[in-house]
Amino acid sequence: MKIKKANAGALTNFEVLDFLRSRGAAKDPTRVIAPIAASEFKVYDYLVESAACNQTRESINELLEKCKKYDLAKAEILNIINIRPASPVEIDPIIEESEKRMGEGIEDLIEMVITVLPPPPNQMNTEEEVVAGDEEIADGEQTTTETTTTTMATEN
């Protein structure tokens, strides 16, 4: 066995998850039929619980584009994609000397990460509670507009 290239490219968690999904891995009982080994399923189970499970190729490309102006190392961007930090304290272990290099830019970076990458399922529970309050108000307004449009339609 000869190792031609020990490092032929780094993969984000999302890419590995996508690769396993394209071969047929899923959470439901079709596991026995899919051509995936049990050890690969363990990796799939781990990735599906992480922040990678509802990322898309487009969102990752968008994040790469927007990260260019922050001059981050490749390893740091990889960490950010895999972990999806949602607050400055989570960015701290990822980016070395974050205060010196970025200062105010940390807040912008986190805003951008939160808007571009979808939150993972366990983080979504805490974010949903905050958003649910706003949504209830919006629903109330929507129903009033809907009734006005239907009345207009019957009139016409």
């Binding site: 066995m1 000869k2 190792i3 031609k4 290239k5 020990a6 490092n7 032929a8 490219g9 780094a10 993969l11 984000t12 968690n13 890419e15 590995v16 690769f19 396993l20 080994a37 050890s39 690969e40 363990k42 990796v43 189970d45 781990y46 992480s50 390893a75 990889l78 960490n79 895999n82 972990i83 930090p85 607050s87 304290v89 989570e90 960015i91 701290d92 272990p93 990822i94």
Partner: protein, 192 residues
């Protein structure tokens, strides 16, 4: 966490696989050879990514099987130093913590890389286990097994295969990851 590695290997394809299309037969053989095995300095092999080229197909004299030289890429699990990974607590004893990723269990956080200062208390539920508690500004933060723990990779080592092992020692771990919790933002997710 994951890398692609390009490998070339001379593969002997047993004759009972002759009815399968070549690609599938080679893929099956490669999977049984490499999957879930640790390759020195490359990491744990997760999956066969693709097959780049297949050469050969010669049958050597005295052998019933054909031999192919295959070039392929493997998805390897090999975290780099400084990577942040979220894992679940598996065991906690006086030497430190052991974390597990589901597919990989040999992640150790030794005592000197735990958040400073901290102390351990015997676990009331389980006699052999110990709970680690972080003392920060006079507040106690225990590391319990409830939520996931974020750690930073300090080093990845591949201990050489021992010739003899005393009975009842832990099964040999070909790849060990040493992690650290000693930084802002690391430790159980619920702390932050």
């Amino acid at each position: 966490m994951f890398f692609l590695s390009l490998i070339e290997h001379t593969l002997r394809l047993p004759p009972h696989l002759l009815d399968l299309p070549l690609n599938e037969a080679i893929k099956g053989e490669l999977e049984s050879l490499f999957l879930d095995k640790v390759l020195a300095n490359l990491g744990l092999c997760i999956s066969v990514y693709d097959i780049r080229s297949i050469d050969g197909g010669f049958v050597f004299p005295g052998d019933g099987a054909s031999t192919y030289t295959v070039e392929f890429r493997l998805v390897m699990f090999r975290p780099f130093v400084g990577e942040i990974i979220t894992a679940k607590l598996k065991e906690s004893d006086a030497n430190g913590l052991q974390l597990s990723l589901g597919f990989f269990d040999d992640i150790y956080i030794p005592v000197h890389l735990m958040p400073n200062p901290c102390h351990c208390e015997p676990d009331p539920e389980n006699k052999s286990q110990v709970i680690w508690i972080w003392d920060y500004q006079e507040q106690k933060f225990p590391i319990d097994g409830l939520d996931e723990i974020r750690f930073q990779v300090q080093s990845v080592s591949y201990p050489p295969i021992p010739v003899e092992q005393p009975k009842e020692s832990k099964p040999f771990a070909p790849m060990m990851i040493m992690g650290s919790l000693d930084y802002d933002g690391l430790g159980p997710v619920s702390w932050w």
